[in-house]
């Protein structure tokens, strides 16, 4: 109940931001919503289920291209977006069955390779995808501020939907099964958890929303190319956000996305030439000093203070 309340209040507050006509603010807001979607999506497989997936970029890119190809064939934007989610999710189920048998580093590498393969396939299928030249998406005939508001609201809507699903999963049977698998997969099997099905479900969930996010992103920026949408950073950033916010927690990924975006924006503005290195320093510091995430660490500090006060 409390979680739904948080979601409701959050939606309202972030929804109000759309009223502002400030395009910079709206751009940040759209990025934030997209990061939140990617982080929560990754959290299904990487956080709750404990499988170190590097496939987010694959789903994001697959969604972006699915939607772009359909729109190039004169399909409406909404159809493209819906198809993006379906194709990304279906692809995850298909590829998940074999690679989710792998564990640890092996799974990580296999999931990483999927993005590499998809990127190269897109790169070489020039007739359909334009190859390395990328694809242009139809321009909307709307004033720029209205477009900024519209895309912000769309991405926010997706984030709200993803959060709602995350809440359901977190409190439901599905999330419980994910956590059992994360804790001890063999023991879970013997307790009657159909680990293969649940792992595949987690992978599928992590793909659907990432795919739609990729599709919305494509229309938002009007142009996609393989190097951009299949960039490995789309796999790594969500993971860093979730680590920042707290692995496997419900709202941790959103919290992590906010902190990450703030840092990223500060770095972009002040250290453009070395932004990758600053991001690297951030990652290293986080792994070394905050391995359990900001939220968990705050909680521990708070508890220590309360303990002293008592």
């Amino acid at each position: 109940m409390r979680d739904w309340l948080i979601l409701g209040v959050g939606t309202l507050l972030f929804g109000l931001l759309a009223l502002s006509g400030d395009t910079y603010l709206l751009r940040l807001g759209t990025m934030l919503a997209m990061y939140a979607v990617l982080a929560m999506s990754w959290n299904f497989i990487g956080g709750m289920t404990g499988y170190p997936s590097f496939a987010t970029a694959a789903f994001f890119g697959l969604g972006a291209y699915t939607s772009a190809i359909l729109q190039a064939a004169q399909m409406p934007m909404a159809v493209g977006w819906a198809a993006a989610g379906l194709v990304a999710g279906g692809f995850a189920l298909l590829i998940g069955l074999p690679i989710l048998r792998l564990k640890g580093h092996y799974f990580a590498i296999a999931s990483l390779s999927i993005g590499e393969i998809l990127r190269e396939v897109v790169n070489t299928s020039e007739e359909i995808t334009g190859g390395g030249m990328g694809m242009n998406l139809p321009l909307l005939r709307l004033p720029p501020e209205v477009q900024a508001q519209a895309f912000y609201l769309c991405m926010l809507g997706l984030a709200v939907l993803t959060t709602a699903v995350a809440i359901l999963v977190h409190h439901g049977r599905l999330g419980f099964a994910f956590r059992c698998i994360e804790q001890n997969e063999d023991a879970a099997t013997v307790l009657g958890v159909d680990t293969r099905t649940f792992k595949t479900a987690a992978f599928g969930l992590s793909a659907v929303f990432s795919g739609v996010a990729g599709a919305i992103y494509g229309n938002w920026v009007h142009y996609i190319e393989p190097l951009d949408v299949f960039d490995i950073m789309h796999s790594v950033k969500p993971l860093v956000m979730v680590l920042l916010g707290g692995l496997g927690t419900l709202f941790g990924p959103i919290f992590g996305a906010i902190v990450f975006l703030a840092l990223e924006e500060a770095v972009w503005r002040n250290f453009l030439g070395v932004h990758a290195a600053v991001l690297g320093v951030l990652i290293v510091a986080m792994v070394l000093f905050l391995p359990r995430g900001l939220a968990t660490s705050f909680e521990q500090i708070a508890r220590r203070f309360r303990g002293k006060a008592a």
Partner: protein, 288 residues
Amino acid sequence: MIYLQILANGLALGGLYACIAVGFSLVWGVLNVINLLHGSMIVLGSYIALFAYTTFGIHPFLTVPIAGGIVFALTYALQRGIINRVIAAPVLMTLTLTFGLDLIFNNAMLTAFKADYRKLILENPLGSWSFSGVTLPVDRIAAMALAMLLTLMLFRLLKDSRIGRAIVAVRMDRDAAALMGVDVMKINAITFGIGGFMAGAAGCLLSIIFPISPLNSTVYLGKSFVVCVLGGLGSVPGAIVGGLALGIIESFGAFFLGPEHAVTLAFSLLIVFLIVRPTGLLGKKGYE
């Protein structure tokens, strides 16, 4: 005849791939850490060779021990100072950490050397051998031979030296090795350093063949993944078999399917191998 030429090209390429991957494989096998810095360390080796050649006129082959030594020192220090702190942490943590370190290093190299591809052109190339229709550039063959020599030296080091035996012992059973008096922390750092040495050395050899740019680091890293999985993790013979296999597959793949499909082919093979035969072509683990 064309097939013989393709095979020869593939073998020459494969020898280099083995050398690229062997250090990566060793670190993965012994420390259970995937070192995402590996590609950047190879590129660093190439830049050291380029710098030594353009500034002092030292032939890249002669720079091998210097570049290897520099990268050894760097990676040893990184392991001791940073990576060692999370050595027992879950896969996700060590992967993320080495990814972060790679972002720093790669960005530093981009700032220092710029992204454009540079080429080390030898003033006195050794020409090429040609017999029964097969043409082999001598420099390339020499680089491949040196790469194989280095790889075999690593093999002997692991088999015959005290430190090598200690590394193998840690790979087989970390706790048992510690009980028998092996300083596991030290071995971890030395292994990481050896991985770095091999990366730096491989970078020198590659400098006379491939263009040099920080952007190449992910390509080399990708090759290392594939070689490891094809040949089997953590063993020198595995890296040799995996490297040669990848070299041959790539050059025949380029001929039959077109060079643009090389990456797709390699990574598809990787996934198939992971699923069907996770122990690699040699089908065994360890160094024996």
